[in-house]
């Protein structure tokens, strides 16, 4: 009985110890199967073969992996340091970062790391929005409705960050960065409200922006204004948000101001402000008129009712 070149290559790798254990066992088992056909099972060979079969039988278990990413090397840019406050560090009225203890910094760093991990592992929902759409698209773009699963995941992510970093005034994430603002001592923390902010290209503009759409997940507090400086992106060098959500009868009344400062395409900035009743379906907040393009700004918002069992 001749063996194929592929089998010979496998045997060669087996001799060199270059095969993963499961593959090595498979090759050995195949060899023993052939030997058994020709020579019958010698005792040692038979036992080894049986061990290999048992090992192979349990392979499915050994291959079990977590369904979602759990941990990964940290994105260094998320690490706050005492010399250079994190973008997400809470700022006072004068724009000064609040000082923290080393332990607080460690917690924050851990929270930021975990945020990055969750984002990298697929926890972040940005790429998954748009699954649930009405059959009839609206004139400008399809309406996106936040699903219960997405709400649960955001609630869980917020809870996780609070479990690591302590109570948070707000939390903001995009597809690569997490920012958190720890609550100040003695601060009364009201009900958390999640806001999905979505920036999309208005196709009537003269140029296209490959970085859009861009989605931000923000959790802030009911009736508590949050000022958030989003990380630099191709959309604009800085995007500053001021959000004041107020929960009224289960709905969210969102006061907002958004300012974008220039980009590598031009120095111009743009601003947008207003107040809207926002729910689970995407609601337009207006447009940012940047140098050579228009950016639609939409939001969804809801009250996170139970963080422990979202």
């Amino acid at each position: 009985m001749s063996i194929s070149e592929e089998q010979e290559i496998l045997l060669s790798q087996l001799i060199d110890g270059e095969l993963p254990v499961d593959q090595a066992n498979q090759v050995l088992a195949d060899v023993f199967d052939e030997l058994a056909d020709v020579l019958g099972n010698a005792e040692a060979g038979g036992k080894l073969n049986a061990m290999l079969q048992l090992q192979r039988a349990l392979k499915p278990w050994r291959r079990q992996e977590p369904p979602k990413g759990i941990v990964a090397p940290p994105p260094a840019k998320n690490l706050p340091s005492p010399d250079q406050p994190s973008v997400g560090a809470r700022r006072g009225a004068g724009g000064e970062g609040v000082s923290h203890s080393n332990w607080r910094l460690l917690n924050l760093a851990t929270a930021a790391l975990l945020g990055g991990i969750l984002v990298a592992g697929g926890f972040f929902l940005g790429g998954r929005f748009g699954i649930e759409r009405p059959a009839v698209p609206m004139a400008r773009q399809p309406i996106v409705i936040v699903t219960p699963e997405q709400r649960q995941e955001i609630a869980r992510a917020f809870t996780l960050h609070e479990s690591v970093a302590g109570p948070l005034s707000w939390y903001a994430a995009d597809d690569s960065t997490i920012q958190v603002a720890p609550a100040q001592e003695g601060e009364t923390l009201r009900q958390p409200i999640a806001v999905i902010l979505r920036l999309t290209q208005d196709l009537s503009g003269p140029s296209r922006d490959a970085t859009l759409p861009k989605t931000y997940v923000i959790v802030c507090r009911n009736s508590d204004a949050a000022t958030i400086e989003l990380p630099q992106s191709a959309v604009a060098k800085t995007v500053r948000l001021r959000l004041l959500p107020t929960a009224i009868n289960g709905e969210v009344n969102l006061e907002y101001a958004i300012a974008a400062d220039g980009s590598d395409r031009g120095p111009d900035g743009a601003a947008l402000a207003g107040r809207r009743a926002v729910g689970l379906s995407q609601t337009s907040l207006g447009q940012l008129a940047l140098a050579d393009r228009l950016v639609n700004v939409d939001a969804s918002a809801w009250v996170i009712r139970d963080q422990r069992k979202p």
Binding site: M51, Q53, L54, R62, P66, P73, P74, T110, L114, V164
Partner: protein
């Protein structure tokens, strides 16, 4: 330390997940437990003195988190048994996990079922090395045994399993 630990954690997560899975018995719960264990490890980075092997330390945290989860989740606990409770736990795990695709594989089911019936000492060494994916040295550190003892127990477990599997497959055991 936390940054180094975080990098190290990435290479241990799969095993931590499998350890959690065989204790708590469901994919979602195992995911939560592994996540909790990672968070705790990062938070306790300062307490890791390096005398214990990292793998031992993480294993202990994972097992503790899994047991905490079981204690907290009485409702789930009532409907599920873990490894120590016998063969049914194995089957519950099979049904709950991504191994559902392999559910029809009788050999796999049989092997897992029989692992639950192994003597305690053999079972622990066997599960650590053959299911969780620890090396003999790592399993020896976790169990506080010599490598030779682990090797011997794994061998004995295999012997028992092979005999029992042969019996089952030959139809001698109902």
């Amino acid at each position: 330390m936390s940054e180094t630990l975080n990098q190290e954690l990435a290479s241990h997560v799969s095993r931590m997940y499998r350890v959690a899975l065989r204790i708590v018995g469901s994919v979602d719960a195992a995911q939560e437990v592994a996540q909790d264990a990672c968070v705790k490890a990062l938070r306790r980075a300062e307490t890791f003195d390096g005398r214990a092997a990292l793998v031992t330390w993480l294993h202990r945290i994972t097992v503790n988190c899994a047991h905490d989860h079981l204690r907290k989740d009485r409702r789930a606990d009532r409907g599920r048994t873990d490894w120590d409770s016998g063969a049914m736990g194995m089957l519950a795990m099979l049904e709950a996990g991504p191994a559902e695709r392999a559910e029809r594989n009788e050999t796999y089911r049989l092997a897992l079922t029989l692992v639950a019936k192994l003597p305690d000492d053999c079972r622990s060494a066997f599960m650590l090395t053959q299911l969780d994916g620890y090396t003999y040295d790592e399993a020896a550190a976790i169990e506080n045994l010599s490598r030779g003892t682990v090797a011997s127990r794994v061998y004995r477990a295999r012997q028992i399993l092979m005999e029992q599997m042969n019996d089952h497959l030959a139809g001698e055991v109902p």
